[in-house]
């Protein structure tokens, strides 16, 4: 679970690290990914685990479009820049939730018989639910892929460079908007991947994103804004804390542990675990 939190959070961290924008519609991106995965399963009988790349691709396009239509303009605001970003992405989240209700009704849906759903695997005497295990493996693979991508490819370097100094980058002939749009696409694609996997073992409904979004923000902040590695580490911490709290407190209070750990960490290190000053 922690690795999936990490995967959701990495997308958010990427967007944030890239351009200092917090995407308050992140949870809704996840919700959309789960629906896409659901419909691919119901109409084309494609197993969510196989459709994950398709979902990621769809979300990539969606993320880039959101950047070009909304975020690009939000970033131009000179006054109250922070508020404009928060409320334009938040408005988007409300629209997406409304659209989901309108198109798909508020009903709870689930994917009944997926290839991995409901099975467990025994590893060294510990029983693990298969979808979660596969999710964890996908998350690790995606994280490794992202790491290589950022550090080893031209586009990755362009991302980093644009983050460091958008002005200088323009001089070398890199289109800032294109790089940022691709960055948003990439961030959204990671959420898409997470959404496709989670569609197997979570109910799908219009507000599902909201419950994960706050945990995603906490995860990113815990790891430190601007650090993709931190987000992944934060995810693991959050997963562990959640599992531990579940043993001590009633299930309805399990997130309290996560929040408490977050507060504790930022009070000691106001920049998060791996955040740069």
């Amino acid at each position: 679970m922690g690795l999936l939190y990490g995967l959701i959070a990495v997308g958010l961290a990427l967007i944030f690290g890239l351009m200092d924008v917090v995407n308050f519609a992140h949870g809704e991106f996840l919700m959309i990914a789960m629906y896409v995965s659901f419909f691919l399963f119901t109409f084309f009988a494609i197993d969510p685990l196989l459709s994950a790349p398709l979902v990621a691709a769809a979300l990539f396009v969606f993320g880039a479009v959101v950047y070009l239509l909304i975020v690009r303009f939000a970033m131009r605001a000179k006054a109250n820049a922070g508020m404009v970003q928060i409320f334009s992405t938040f408005g988007l989240a409300i629209v997406m939730r409304g659209l989901a209700q309108f198109l798909f009704t508020p009903d709870y849906r689930s994917i009944p018989h997926s290839w991995a759903g409901g099975k467990t695997i025994s590893v060294a005497g510990i029983f693990l639910p298969e979808p979660q295990l596969i999710g964890a493996l996908v998350a690790i693979a995606a994280f490794a892929g992202l790491y290589v991508f950022i550090h080893r490819t031209d586009f990755g370097r362009a991302l980093e460079a644009t983050r460091e100094d958008p002005g200088a980058v323009a001089l070398v002939g890199i289109d800032k908007n294109r790089v940022f749009a691709l960055g948003w696409g990439l961030g959204a694609a990671l959420v898409g991947l997470a959404g496709a996997i989670m569609a197997v073992f979570f109910y799908i409904y219009p507000d599902v994103g909201a419950s994960f979004a706050l945990i995603a923000y906490v995860t990113v902040a815990l790891g430190g804004f601007g650090s993709v590695f931190g987000a992944f580490a934060g995810g693991i911490v959050v997963g562990l804390v959640e599992a531990t709290t579940a043993l001590v407190l009633p299930p309805s209070l399990k997130s309290v542990g996560i929040y408490a750990v977050y507060l504790l960490v930022v009070f000691i290190r106001p920049r998060g675990l791996f955040g740069q000053m």
Partner: protein, 327 residues
């Protein structure tokens, strides 16, 4: 400049007094209970947003966790009333004081956090409050509290026959929040807040006074919001954690100020006057289908206004005025 500022402040005060006077006469014309309801909510959100604006707008410490104080106000009033028979007036004050104390207690560690870390910390703390109340059996847990009917009087702050007393209380609260903002704007705190907001590094050299002024902003802001929460609880006669402490309240408090103009005296009032009737009307005319059309319209408007007018609707007036001045 100084003279202009003083003149502007005097003018603001006169406009506010005239508006409050006109609003007080509104019930003579408006007899429809549905419309009265909208007016009450509009005034309440204007008051809440104005209070939120003190900490988040003027002082620049953007809080998206003010629902915590709202909920505390509501719960303090109703727990004292239903469990100990304390009159809501005292419960309201108690709620305000508790909220202010908590806000200052939280401010101590929170004000060290910058930017998004601060915003997320405020969301998280409100969420913890929500979860704790949902699991607190004595306080009704997730079921909440139904407020028993004990009469129809100002003494008990319950009114069955007419909504007008609620209207006048909301108007008074809104005026109070406005007046406090007006008064603080020109105080020592007001100047420190602007310093904190515009240039945190430079403000840091002022050290303790800045910290104290932030604490003051947090306390005043939380106190007023808690009074709003107490009012809302009496008005609805029913509370549960989600409906008074949910994240949506933190947002609903912030939105009027954002739309109207953050850190301005008139922004929250203007924003609430447009946003709340619009929300209520879209909800009742196109939201009845339960299919989320109202959410779509509402969200799209937020996106459009925040992109097109980053300084809020108030900036339309000042822009027009600035043009006139240069001519």
């Amino acid at each position: 400049m100084d003279k202009n500022f003083a003149a502007r402040r005097r003018r603001d005060l006169i406009i506010a007094a005239v508006l409050a006077g006109l609003a007080a006469l509104a019930p003579l014309v408006v007899k429809d209970v549905y419309v009265q309801n909208i007016l009450i909510l509009t005034l309440m959100y204007a008051a809440l947003s104005q209070s939120w604006n003190i900490l988040s707008g003027y002082c620049g410490q953007i809080s998206l966790g003010h629902a915590l104080y709202f909920g505390i106000g509501a719960y303090a009033t109703e727990l004292l009333f239903t469990k100990f028979g304390v009159l809501p007036w005292f419960g309201m004050l108690a709620g305000g004081v508790i909220a202010a104390v908590i806000a200052m207690g939280l401010g101590y560690p929170f004000f060290r956090l910058r930017g998004h870390y601060f915003v997320i910390a405020t969301i998280v703390i409100a969420e913890i409050g929500l979860l704790l109340f949902q699991n607190w059996e004595w306080a009704g847990a997730a079921m909440g509290i139904t407020i028993p009917v004990r009469g129809d009087s100002w003494l008990k702050f319950q009114f069955m026959r007419s909504k007008l007393p609620y209207f006048y209380f909301a108007l008074a609260l809104c005026s109070l929040a406005w007046f406090v903002t007006w008064w603080l704007e020109d105080s020592k705190w007001g100047f420190w807040w602007r310093a904190v907001k515009d240039n945190p590094e430079a403000a840091e050299s002022l050290g303790v006074v800045v910290f104290n002024s932030k604490m003051g902003a947090a306390a005043v802001s939380a106190f007023l919001v808690a009074i709003g929460g107490a009012f809302y609880a009496q008005f609805l006669a029913y509370i549960d954690p989600e409906s008074v402490m949910g994240f949506q309240f933190s947002l609903l408090m912030a939105l009027p100020a954002v739309l109207g103009g953050i850190g301005t005296l008139w922004g929250p009032v203007l924003g609430a006057a447009i946003l709340i009737p619009m929300t209520e009307l879209t909800r009742s005319y196109i939201g009845g289908s339960g299919r989320g059309v109202d959410l779509i319209v509402y969200g799209a408007l937020i996106v459009a206004i925040s992109l097109a007018l980053p300084q809020g609707l108030v900036s339309l007036f000042s822009r027009a005025k600035a043009k006139g001045a240069t001519r």
